[in-house]
C-alpha cells in the first residue's frame, strides 16, 4: 500500500466520522442541487446539449495536435508567446525565469487548477515573488495555508465564522457579525491593493479556442478580468486538453459549463484574451505568455479507451454528485484533482503505483456518469484504472492470493458450496465465542462498522435440493 493510499484511508475514515463536516458539505451540496435543477430548466433538451458537448470535445481530442498548432499560430500572430511544457518542472522554470528577468515582485493569480497541479506559487515564491490568490475561495484557503477543497468552490468546507476569524487574524480586519457581504468587502480591499501593484497576472484557461487563437476564461468575481488587465505581464497556464475547435463552440460550452458547475445561465465574466494589448488600446498587459502543459495528459492518449478522459471541462459536477466526495470532502484525497475525475486523472497522469488506490474510493454508483456534461464514462474509467493497477502488480500480495483463491473456489460448484458452508459454520462459531465485531472475527473488515451478517441455516442450493423441485 502506498503512503498516499494509507493516508487517504485514514483521512477518509476521520472525515466520515465528522458529522459537523458532513452537515456543512450537505448544506452546500443542497444549495448546489437546487441551483442546478433551476439551471437545467434553461435547456429544452439537456441530453442533446450533453451529446453536442461530447462531440465538440471528442473532435478536439481526436485532432489535438492540429488544433493546438492552429491555436498557437493564431495567438502568436497577435504577439503572444506560446511555451510548450512537457512537465511541471519545465512550466515552473519558464514562469520563474520570467519573474526574475522582468523584475516581478508581486504576482496576482486567478483560479487555476493547472497552476495548483504544478505547484507554481511555491516556485514563484522561491524566485522571489509574493503570490496572491485572487479568487475569494482560493484567497481564503491560501491564508489558511491549505489546498483548495473543491475545484469550483475552494472554501466550501468553511463557515462564515471561520472566515471571519481568519480575516481578523491574517488581515487585521474585524467583521463581528461575520456578514458575508462585509467579509467580501474586506477581501476586495486587500486584493485591490495587490491587483494594482502586481507586475504579473497568472490565470488558467477554461478553453483554448483554436480558430480564433484566444484564451477563454470564466469567472464570477471579476478577479480573472483584473488579473488579465492590470499587470504588465499576463501568463496563462493551461492543460493541452483545454482546446476547443471553434469560437462558435462556446455558444454551447459556456452555458453548459455554468449549468453543470453552479447552475447559472453563464458565468458573469466570460472573457476572451487574444494577445497583449494592441497599440491603440489604453490599457492591458504588454506581454502575454501561454504555457501549454502536458504533464502526463498525453498518457491518456496512449490507449483509445482512455482518451475520453481528456474531454473533461472541469465543471465539478462529478465531485458534487459523488456520494464518497460528499462524505469525505476534497482534502482527504491529497491531490490537486479529487473526486471521480481526479481518481482517474491522477493515477494516469502522475503515477499508477502511488495513486491507483484512489479509483477504489468509489462505490461505482454511476451518479457521476449521469451528470458529466461531456459524457465521460467515469465508472468505466475507474474500473480500467483498477484493472491496470492490478495488472501492474501494485496491489497488496495478500489480495492477489485472495483472488486466486476466489477463482479456485468458484471454478467448482462443489468447492463453492463447501466454501460457503465453511463461512457459515465459522461465523456461527465466532458468534458463539462472542468474537463478533472484534479483530478476532475473520469478518472484521465487515463487522467493524456493521452488525454481523445473518447466518442462514442452509444455502439456497441446499434448500433447492431438499425443497426446490416442484
Amino acid at each position: 500500500m502506498s503512503t498516499a493510499s494509507r493516508q487517504f484511508v485514514q483521512r477518509a475514515a476521520v472525515k466520515a466520522a465528522d458529522l459537523e463536516h458532513r452537515a456543512t458539505i450537505e448544506r452546500n451540496i443542497q444549495t448546489y442541487d437546487a441551483a442546478v435543477a433551476r439551471g437545467r430548466l434553461r435547456f429544452a433538451d439537456w441530453e442533446a446539449a450533453r451529446n453536442a458537448c461530447e462531440a465538440i470535445k471528442a473532435e478536439a481530442i481526436c485532432h489535438l495536435d492540429r488544433y493546438l498548432e492552429q491555436f498557437e499560430k493564431n495567438i502568436t500572430a497577435r504577439g503572444a508567446h506560446v511555451f510548450w511544457a512537457e512537465d511541471a518542472a519545465q512550466a515552473d522554470a519558464y514562469v520563474a525565469t520570467l519573474v526574475k528577468q522582468r523584475g516581478v515582485k508581486t504576482v496576482v493569480k486567478s483560479k487555476s487548477m493547472a497552476t495548483e497541479e504544478i505547484h507554481l506559487s511555491a516556485a514563484l515564491e522561491k524566485a522571489g515573488a509574493t503570490v496572491w490568490e485572487t479568487d475569494l475561495g482560493e484567497f481564503i484557503v491560501q491564508l489558511r495555508d491549505e489546498p483548495p477543497y473543491h475545484i469550483v468552490t475552494p472554501a466550501m468546507h468553511l463557515t462564515r465564522y471561520q472566515i471571519r476569524d481568519l480575516f481578523r487574524e491574517k488581515l487585521g480586519a474585524d467583521v463581528p457579525d461575520a456578514d458575508p457581504q462585509k467579509l467580501v468587502a474586506v477581501a476586495r480591499v486587500a486584493l485591490r491593493r495587490a491587483f494594482f501593484s502586481a507586475e504579473m497576472g497568472i490565470s488558467g484557461a477554461n478553453f483554448l479556442v483554436a480558430d480564433a487563437g484566444m484564451v477563454a476564461l470564466s469567472t464570477n468575481e471579476g478577479n480573472g478580468r483584473l488579473t488579465t488587465t492590470l499587470p504588465r505581464l499576463h501568463v496563462v497556464v493551461a492543460g493541452i486538453e483545454k482546446i476547443v475547435p471553434r469560437l462558435a463552440d462556446l455558444a454551447l460550452l459556456w452555458p453548459v459549463l455554468a449549468a453543470a458547475g453552479t447552475g447559472q445561465p453563464i458565468t458573469t465574466y466570460s472573457t476572451l484574451i487574444g494577445g497583449p494589448r494592441c497599440a491603440d488600446e489604453p490599457d492591458g498587459p504588454e506581454e502575454l505568455h501561454v504555457v501549454l502543459l502536458d504533464n502526463g495528459r498525453t498518457n491518456l492518449l496512449t490507449a483509445p479507451e482512455t482518451a475520453e478522459v481528456l474531454r473533461c471541462i472541469r465543471c465539478g459536477a462529478c465531485l458534487n454528485m459523488c456520494p464518497v466526495y460528499r462524505q469525505v470532502g476534497g482534502h482527504a484525497y491529497g491531490t490537486t484533482y479529487p473526486g471521480p475525475i481526479g481518481s482517474i486523472f491522477t493515477p494516469r497522469t502522475v503515477e499508477m503505483r502511488e495513486w491507483g488506490h484512489m479509483a477504489y474510493a468509489c462505490s461505482l454508483c454511476t451518479a457521476c456518469k449521469s451528470v458529466c456534461p461531456v459524457k465521460i464514462d467515469l465508472p468505466k474509467q475507474l474500473l480500467l484504472v483498477r484493472r491496470d493497477f492490478v495488472a501492474a502488480g501494485d496491489v497488496k500480495p495478500a489480495e492477489n492470493v485472495g483472488f486466486r483463491g476466489f477463482r479456485w473456489v468458484v471454478e467448482s460448484a462443489r468447492r463453492f458450496a463447501a466454501g460457503g458452508w465453511l463461512l457459515r459454520k465459522s461465523q456461527a462459531v465466532v458468534r458463539a465465542l462472542g468474537f463478533s465485531r472484534s479483530p478476532l472475527d475473520p469478518m472484521y473488515v465487515w463487522t467493524k462498522y456493521r452488525a454481523p451478517m445473518p447466518v442462514p441455516r442452509q444455502s439456497f442450493r441446499a434448500w433447492w435440493r431438499q425443497h426446490g423441485r416442484q
Binding site: T366, W446, R450, Q470
Partner: protein
C-alpha cells in the same frame, strides 16, 4: 411485449445463495405463482463481479466463461439482483476479449433479467397477488436504476401489493454505500453513506425499506444493527412473495 417464456433459469448471486438465501426462495415463489417453470442450474457459482470490480479481470474472466456455459442454453435467465444482472449485461462486454465467447455473452445478457424487470416487461405482470400491510419506502439502487434503467417496474409492483403504503424516500437514488469491495476497503465511508441513507429512510417513518438489490439491503441491515435503528430491510421479491395472513 415478447411472449412469456415457459422455462426460466434462476441465477442466484453467490452471496444470496450463501448468506441471504430467502431472497432467492421468495423470487422463486413469485415466479412460480405467475406460471413460470423455474429451474436452478446447480453448476452456477459466481458471476465474477467481486473480482471484476477489484480490477482482477483475469480472475473474473473464468467466471464469465462459466456463466455463459451454465446458462447459455437457457431461454431466459432471472436473478434476484440488479447488480449481478448489470455485471452480465453491462460489464461482460468490457471484460471479455472480442470473439465468440463475448458474442455469446452479449446475447445471453439480452435475455438475462432482474426479477421485477422480468415480471413487468417480459411477463407483463404487475400484480402478483401479494399482500403486505405495512409502510414501506423504496431505495432505488444504483446498478438497477442507472445501469439497467429499472425504476418504474419495482414501483408498479409495489403499487399492487395489497395493504402496502409506499412512502417516497428523499434522495432515493443516492448510493447506500455498499459498492462491493468498497464496503470493506473503505468501511468507514461505506458505513457513513449507509448512515446518511438511513437518516433519509427514518425521515419517512416507514417500517420497512426495500430494494431490488439484496446486497444493498445486507449492508443497510448491518448499519441498522450498528446504529440500533428500528426500520427493517426487506428484499422486494420477499414482499411480493407475501400473501394474505402471511405478513411477518
Amino acid at each position: 411485449m415478447t411472449a412469456m417464456p415457459r422455462k426460466v433459469a434462476l441465477f442466484v448471486p453467490c452471496f444470496v445463495d450463501q448468506v441471504v438465501p430467502q431472497a432467492a426462495v421468495d423470487a422463486l415463489t413469485v415466479l412460480r405463482r405467475i406460471g413460470c417453470e423455474v429451474i436452478f442450474p446447480a453448476d452456477q457459482t459466481c458471476c465474477g463481479q467481486p473480482a471484476f470490480n477489484s480490477g482482477h479481470w483475469s480472475e473474473a474472466r473464468p467466471c464469465a466463461e462459466r456463466f455463459v456455459r451454465v446458462f447459455g442454453d437457457s431461454e431466459c435467465v432471472v436473478a434476484p439482483s440488479g447488480s449481478c444482472v448489470s455485471m452480465v449485461r453491462t460489464h461482460y462486454p468490457d471484460l471479455l476479449p472480442v470473439g465468440p465467447l463475448r458474442d455469446d455473452a452479449i446475447a445471453l445478457g439480452q435475455r438475462t433479467y432482474e426479477l421485477t424487470e422480468f415480471l413487468v416487461r417480459i411477463a407483463g405482470v404487475n400484480d402478483v397477488g401479494a399482500s403486505f400491510p405495512h409502510s414501506v419506502t423504496y431505495h432505488a439502487s444504483c446498478h438497477a436504476t442507472r445501469e439497467l434503467g429499472i425504476y418504474r417496474e419495482p414501483l408498479e409492483l409495489l403499487a399492487h401489493v395489497r395493504g402496502l403504503e409506499l412512502r417516497p424516500l428523499p434522495a432515493e437514488g443516492d448510493c447506500c454505500g455498499f459498492g462491493g469491495v468498497f464496503s470493506v476497503k473503505f468501511g468507514a465511508v461505506s458505513a457513513a453513506m449507509g448512515d446518511t441513507k438511513l437518516a433519509n429512510v427514518d425521515s419517512t417513518g416507514a417500517e420497512y425499506v426495500t430494494s431490488i438489490d439484496p446486497s444493498c439491503l445486507m449492508h443497510l441491515e448491518g448499519v441498522i444493527g450498528a446504529t440500533k435503528r428500528k426500520v427493517r430491510p426487506i428484499y422486494l421479491g420477499s414482499i411480493l412473495a407475501q400473501q394474505q395472513e402471511a405478513a411477518q
